[in-house]
Symmetry: C2
Subunit: 276 residues, 2 copies
């Protein structure tokens, strides 16, 4: 039995989505599409001497889906997560931390679960906590995943846009995911369904960013900061949209820097979550 294991999970920016609640958390989830990122969360799990603890960038925190994962795996663990991504800003940090914890704890505690089983545990924990609907399965896939059917691996169906890109992003602060995904999602989900059909018809990065921008407008989720940034990027003929759900703008290529912002720069991540 190994005493320590580390996993890396890419960040995930959702461009558009429709919410699909279900009493069974392995069936609940979202349809949509997004970008997994080379910026992500690194999670190291070790055996805890006393009670389980979770540290994020060195600070003791409580992350409900991570706690659930540890309970399901019966793992009395110390979880140390580090990331350059901002929390609560639409990068799927809670999902990434939950999935990384599942992968690393499975190794340390020799739980002998399969990849899909670990993804299912992390997805279910995230859905139950109300912190996300589709990040975990996207982060398990990597690349530029299209979520055709919602839920954990036994129920979902994924495809992907076969492309890579430089990604820029600027975050203007937090936005509550729980409030939006547990509220009235009819208008949002109608916009998400129509965005998805655009991307299924033409699975390219340019149709993805177009569909994402249309979704953000139709779902009426634009914040003033985001709206200003999108207008600035459009003015220099750049490609940008809003991270769902965060007060964050992301651009393909150099849209934000050419518009005068000082974005963080990363790229799409070719692989899904992995042990290091």
């Amino acid at each position: 039995m190994r005493e320590e294991a580390t996993a890396f999970v890419p960040g995930h920016i959702t461009g558009f989505f429709s919410a699909h609640p279900d009493d069974d958390p392995t069936k609940a989830g979202s349809r949509g599409a997004g970008l997994t990122l080379t910026d992500g969360v690194e999670v190291t799990v070790t055996r805890a001497t006393r009670e389980p603890t979770i540290l994020f960038d060195g600070e003791r925190v409580s992350i409900e889906p991570v706690e659930t994962v540890l309970e399901v795996l019966e793992a009395r663990a110390r979880v140390e997560a580090t990331s350059t991504l901002p929390i609560g800003s639409g990068f799927g940090v809670s999902g990434a931390t939950a999935l990384g914890t599942a992968l690393a704890a499975n190794q340390v505690f020799d739980r002998q679960l399969s990849y899909n089983e670990l993804v299912t545990i992390a997805h279910g924990a995230e859905v139950e906590a109300g912190t996300g609907l589709g990040d975990v399965v996207a982060q398990a896939h990597g690349g530029v995943p299209i979520r055709l059917e919602p839920g954990a691996p036994a129920h979902n169906s994924l495809d992907a846009i076969p492309a890579r890109a430089r990604v820029e992003y600027v975050s203007f602060g937090e936005l509550s995911t729980t409030e939006i995904i547990t509220g009235d999602t009819d208008q949002l989900s109608a916009a998400g369904a129509s965005a998805l059909s655009l991307v299924v018809d033409e699975p390219t990065l340019s149709s993805f960013i177009y569909a994402s921008r249309r979704f953000a407008r139709e779902a009426e989720l634009l914040t003033p900061d985001v709206r200003a940034a999108l207008e600035a990027v459009a003015a220099v003929n750049g490609q940008a949209s809003m991270a769902m759900l965060g007060n964050t703008v992301f651009a393909l290529g150099r849209g934000l820097s050419e518009a005068g912002y000082e974005p963080t720069v990363c790229a799409t991540h070719p692989a899904g979550a992995m042990l290091k």
Copy 2:
């Protein structure tokens, strides 16, 4: 439209499999499990000035599934593949070249197909050529894939062993895949089904290598060179089995080098096929 695109596709060693023929090549395939490898095939596609050409390590060759992929994509292309992997030795080189061609040609010729569609085209081409049954979908997935249900993405079901490993291999020459997978596969497929159930029960690398070795014995596929190498690795308490289908032995960790062989060394590849 881009004039050139390059894809990398990991090699794939199948540890065990059962064959599932079907008149529809998107339903035909195999169940089983294997290792995708950091050693793989790099494929560069450019527009051809005259007729399509395929070069492998600089030599003009004919690879039927690659030609089929170019036809389906209506791509008059020059395909340049390079690899350190030996051909016809159980590394899925033909499947990797077909899948890499599909990904790169889609980009160069702006065909706007999705990842799954490109995998389906390469898988179908491989099945029709009789050169492989499960390599393409495994290579699209990456990691240590378990093929639970056969066929292209619309029909198959994959899981994975959540682990990474150093991999060593020694190849003793070619073995014809076509002859075995188009012949009487009843005994082989019964052995493959029982190996799969072992790995589904315990999705770990040690159960994978145990199930693979049992499969190789029960399916009566061991060549004299392979048998001698497996005995030598077992004598030093190493973990090895035979690549299906090739006259090749692979080991996890350092089994072959500790047994006195001079193996090629690589590792499991965390990601599936990707554009560079």
